[in-house]
Every structure is written in structure tokens, then in C-alpha cells.
């Protein structure tokens, strides 16, 4: 650890300037935008934009869908990757093939994969064919609320690997002797899972949880590819609203919606950090 403060500047300065210019300054400067009316005089209107946007039907639809998609995607990503990594951890070292194939989708360009994805979920496509062979009815996957299924699955397909890798590393770092000692002391499977496995992986689990939410909030890419700029109602996200307002040059509405969104995101992560702190203290 270096203590001379001046030495850090050459390392920090280039990045710092860029972050200030392209991330921090826009974030702060945009607040002014959300408080003015966007006319030629650009008059100060206080919180008028906020109440207007908040009552806008499309905004409400976008917010509702973004929240619903996030709370479907993030928890299922977290649970699935946890279960898969538990399985993978139990069969080590035999899981090499799975381990390397589960991460590949994270690097694949979405739009290249999308053609196959849409073929799979076509009305006459393989997914419906399997359902039919198992005795079910065909589903119109590419319309209405059902369209969420391919979108969520594409999201899971893409993000699963990253989370599995983080979980697996944490599970493998737990020394086996801990379990042996606990077994000698008479601790059963559940007691071991909660007294050893869980506390040992809290930092990694929390990272996976945060990343699940970060990526779920950004689900726009998949939505845009599958549904376009104006997707069916069940898929119209907040990002669609902001992008469409942007293309109509209504900057006030974009920034206002952005800050409402950012407020919600920060509040949620604040809560998560708070809960994690308490959980860790409770376990110690």
C-alpha cells in the first residue's frame, strides 16, 4: 500500500476525468433538465415533469413491465445458478464439459443467436412440437404475454454461466475438513448447509444477487431484438419508453423517467446492501 498521495494521480487522473465527463457530470447535469420545461426560454418548472411523467400511461406500463421482468429474471437466475453450482460441485471433477459450455453464451452476440431462438419458439417450431408430442397444446409464444417466455429464457441462457462460475468457486473454496469436523460433532446435512455452506459463500452469493439485478434491469437488449422499438404491451419496458421519448426529442421526459428509474434502482440496491450487512453480522 502506497501512502504518498501524489503518486496516485497519474494512475487515477485519466480514468477520473472520463468518469466525471461521461458518467457523473451527465448524471448531475441531467437533474437540471428534468426540472425545466424544454422550451426556448427553458423555464424552471420544479417537479412538474415528475408528476406529468409519473401519471403518463406508457411510463406506468413501462415501469410495471420492467419491475415484473426484473423480479422474474433476477431471482430465477440466482436460484438456478445456485442449484446448478451445487450439483456441479458434487460431481467434480467430472463437470468440466458443463462448466465450459455454460459460460459460452455470455460471450455470444445476442442478435446472431436470435434467429435460432425465434425458430425454436415459432408456432410450428421445435418447442411446440415437443409440447405436442408430450400431449400438450401449441402455444403462441411470439405474441402477447407469452412473448415474455422466450425473452426470459434468452436472458437466463445468456447470464447463467457467469453466476454459476462465481458460485462454484465459492463452493470449492470451502475446505472439506470443515464438513468432516462438523459431521464428527454430529451435524446433519441441513445443519451443515446453513452453518457452513451459507456463511462461507455470503460474499459471492451477494455479488451474484447484485449482478442478477443489474443485468435484469438491463433486459432491454433482448426485448429490443425480439419485440423491436414498439413491442407488444407485456414487453414494453421503461427503456422502450425512454428510447421512444428520445427519438421524439422529448428530452425532459427521458431524463425525468431516468431519475425516477435511478431512484428506484438505488433504493433497491440500498436495501440489498443493508440486508447483506445485517445477514453477515448475524452470521458472525
Amino acid at each position: 500500500m502506497y501512502r504518498k498521495k501524489r503518486l496516485v494521480l497519474p494512475f487515477l487522473l485519466p480514468g477520473l476525468i472520463g468518469i466525471l465527463m461521461f458518467y457523473v457530470a451527465p448524471f448531475i447535469g441531467g437533474i437540471w433538465y428534468s426540472l425545466t420545461d424544454g422550451s426556448f426560454e427553458n423555464a424552471f418548472v420544479g417537479l412538474d415533469n415528475y408528476s406529468k411523467v409519473w401519471q403518463n400511461g406508457m411510463f406506468q406500463l413501462g415501469l410495471k413491465n420492467t419491475m415484473e421482468l426484473t423480479f422474474i429474471c433476477a431471482p430465477s437466475l440466482f436460484l438456478l445458478s445456485f442449484l446448478l453450482s451445487l450439483l456441479l460441485n458434487r460431481i467434480r471433477p467430472a463437470g468440466g464439459f458443463f462448466r465450459s459450455s455454460v459460460l459460452l453464451p455470455y460471450l455470444m452476440p445476442s442478435s446472431a443467436v436470435l434467429i435460432i431462438w425465434l425458430l425454436w419458439f415459432d408456432y410450428g417450431g421445435p418447442v411446440n412440437h415437443q409440447i405436442f408430442l408430450l400431449g400438450g397444446q401449441r402455444v403462441l409464444w411470439l405474441q402477447g404475454a407469452e412473448l415474455r417466455v422466450p425473452v426470459v429464457l434468452l436472458f437466463l441462457w445468456k447470464n447463467l454461466g457467469f453466476c454459476v462460475v462465481i458460485f462454484l468457486a465459492a463452493l470449492q473454496a470451502i475446505p472439506v475438513s470443515l464438513y468432516e469436523y462438523a459431521a464428527l460433532e454430529g451435524a446433519g446435512f441441513l445443519r451443515q448447509a446453513f452453518s457452513i455452506t451459507l456463511p462461507m459463500i455470503v460474499p459471492s452469493a451477494f455479488l451474484v444477487f447484485i449482478l442478477s439485478f443489474v443485468n435484469a434491469f438491463r433486459i432491454f437488449k433482448e426485448v429490443y431484438f425480439i419485440g423491436g422499438a414498439y413491442p407488444d404491451e407485456p414487453l414494453y419496458t421503461l427503456q422502450n419508453y425512454m428510447n421512444n421519448m428520445y427519438s421524439k426529442l422529448n428530452y425532459q421526459n427521458v431524463t425525468t423517467a431516468a431519475y425516477i428509474f435511478a431512484g428506484i434502482v438505488f433504493a433497491l440496491f440500498g436495501l440489498l446492501f443493508f440486508l447483506q450487512n445485517r445477514a453477515q453480522r448475524g452470521l458472525n
Binding site: 458518467y23 457530470a25 464439459f97 443489474v214 431484438f225 431516468a258
Partner: protein, 286 residues
């Protein structure tokens, strides 16, 4: 945990094996379809969206006759895909070289120096990492426009140089490096800069490889940035935003196009696989 043997082990293995095959199937299928003739693919793609209850799409994986016509089309006869491909490659190269100069240095500054405001700065970087692109979109457009960069390549490239996620990723790794490493270099009379170059960076090889591969994947898959910053310049759009049209226009060469699009990402993955696995594996939220 006890390792399993026998029947239960085999059940889990089969299950995970099947899952892995499903996960890889989209790429395999794209690759196989790319060797069908264009007319065969056009006919096949036309069967999409039919609501005839009695028919299924013919799910043939192996082409009737192996043909390289799709590749001839995209590589020689028509340069649309190739031009978009080169655009994408240009963005990836420009973004990664800028990041290489800025991000590791910043992560080093944030992890191995003690200065006032360090934790606050890192906290801000985490907050920025959580924000979706659209939140800072409009002010960014205004900044870029007043700098004369809007509707140029730089509008897409420069903001990516400071992507908070990679600063976070590399910083988390560097925090875990033992202090003795730097003390030993100091004893030998190395300055901060040569310590950074000769001691710290080589040790960080896994996370640098992982970050490079992940950042390549992101640059190869840019959507929001070109759509907002390059509204008037379709000639500068990368493959990621334009590729969809190929499929909807039913051109017949979309699968060769998709294969060409997937290949660089696949090579990057195979090349950096161990780095990615070990680099990500060591990341925790501390």
C-alpha cells in the same frame, strides 16, 4: 461435501450433459444451417409464422446437400455483411485499446494507494455500474454534440473507455494481491510506475484476460450506443444493430452471416477460457 459415486452421480452427469447440449444448440444449429443452399434456407425460413395446425417446421439439422453458396454470397458476391463485420471489429479494437490504457491503471490507483476519498470514489463507481445506459443518455448526447463527436465513431467508443464494471472487476482482484509484492518491489528501488508495469500487471494476468474477453463480448454486442449516438449514420452501424434485418428480409444467407458473427466471439472464448474462469472465480464483493 462428500463426492458421489455410482448411480446418482451418473444421473446428475446425464442431466448436466443434456443441459449443456441445449445451451450449445443455438450455435451448433446456426453452424450446420450455414452449409445449406440459399434457396433451401429461404424456403425453410418461409415456413415461419404459419398457423396451420397440421404442419410443423421441418427441423432438419443436416443439410440435404452441403453448399458453400451462403459463404460465397457474404464474402465475395455481396459486401454488406462484411462491411458491418469490419465496423464491429473496429469498435471492438478501439474500445479495448482505450480500456487497456485507462482501466488497469485506475484499478491500481483505487486498490494500492491510500488517499482521502478513495472509498467514496469506489462507491460512486459501484453506483454507476448499477445504472442502465438510458439514465445518462440524454446529457451524454448533449456533451457529445457540443464536443462535435455525435454521429462519429468516437461517440460510441470514448464513453466505453471508462466502463465502471471493468474498473470494479480488476480492482477487486488487485485488492487481494499481497502487500509484500509491492513492498519487495519498493525495496528493489522500483518506482510506482515500473512496479505497476513489471510486477502488478503480470500477476493480474487472469483478471486482465477475463476483463478483455468480457469487454470484447460487450463491444461485439453493442446496441443502445450506436442506436442513440449514430442516428444519422447507418454506414457506421455495427453488425449488432443491423443483423436482425438480414433475418427479417429472408435473404437466405443469414446463417452464414450469423456464423461469421459468432466465430470471433468463439475464438476469444476458447483463447481466454481459463482466464475467464479463474478471473471471475476470484471476484467477490468486499
Amino acid at each position: 461435501m462428500r463426492e458421489m459415486k455410482g448411480f446418482r452421480l451418473r444421473v446428475i452427469q446425464t442431466f448436466l450433459g443434456l443441459l449443456a447440449i441445449i445451451l450449445l444448440l443455438p450455435m451448433v444449429q446456426t453452424f450446420l444451417y450455414s452449409f445449406s443452399s440459399m434457396s433451401e434456407m429461404q424456403a425453410f425460413m418461409k415456413t415461419r409464422g404459419s398457423y396451420d395446425e397440421t404442419r410443423w417446421m421441418e427441423a432438419h439439422l443436416i443439410p440435404n446437400r452441403v453448399s458453400l453458396l451462403q459463404y460465397h454470397q457474404i464474402l465475395i458476391a455481396d459486401n454488406t455483411v462484411l462491411r458491418l463485420f469490419l465496423n464491429s471489429a473496429m469498435y471492438a479494437a478501439m474500445i479495448l485499446s482505450g480500456q487497456a490504457l485507462i482501466i488497469p491503471a485506475m484499478a491500481f490507483g483505487l486498490s494500492k494507494f491510500r488517499f482521502p476519498g478513495r472509498n467514496a470514489l469506489f462507491f460512486i463507481i459501484i453506483l454507476l455500474m448499477l445504472l442502465p445506459f438510458q439514465v445518462t443518455m440524454v446529457p451524454n448526447v448533449l456533451t457529445l454534440r457540443s464536443a462535435g463527436l455525435l454521429d462519429t465513431v468516437w461517440a460510441v467508443v470514448i464513453p466505453m473507455w471508462f466502463a465502471p464494471f471493468y474498473i470494479f472487476l480488476i480492482r477487486q482482484f488487485m485488492v487481494g494481491l499481497p502487500g509484500e509484492l509491492i513492498e519487495a518491489a519498493e525495496m528493489d528501488g522500483a518506482g510506482t510506475f515500473s512496479t505497476f508495469l513489471r510486477v502488478v500487471l503480470p500477476v493480474c494476468r487472469p483478471i486482465l484476460g477475463a476483463a478483455a474477453a468480457l469487454s470484447f463480448a460487450e463491444s461485439w454486442n453493442l446496441v443502445e450506443q450506436p442506436l442513440t449516438y449514430l442516428t444519422t449514420r447507418t454506414d457506421l452501424q455495427p453488425l449488432s444493430t443491423m443483423f436482425n434485418q438480414l433475418a427479417t428480409e429472408n435473404t437466405g444467407f443469414e446463417f452464414a452471416g450469423a456464423t461469421l458473427y459468432i466465430l470471433p466471439a468463439l475464438f476469444i472464448y476458447l483463447f481466454f477460457q481459463e482466464d475467464i474462469l479463474s478471473g471471475i472465480a476470484l471476484t467477490e464483493l468486499k
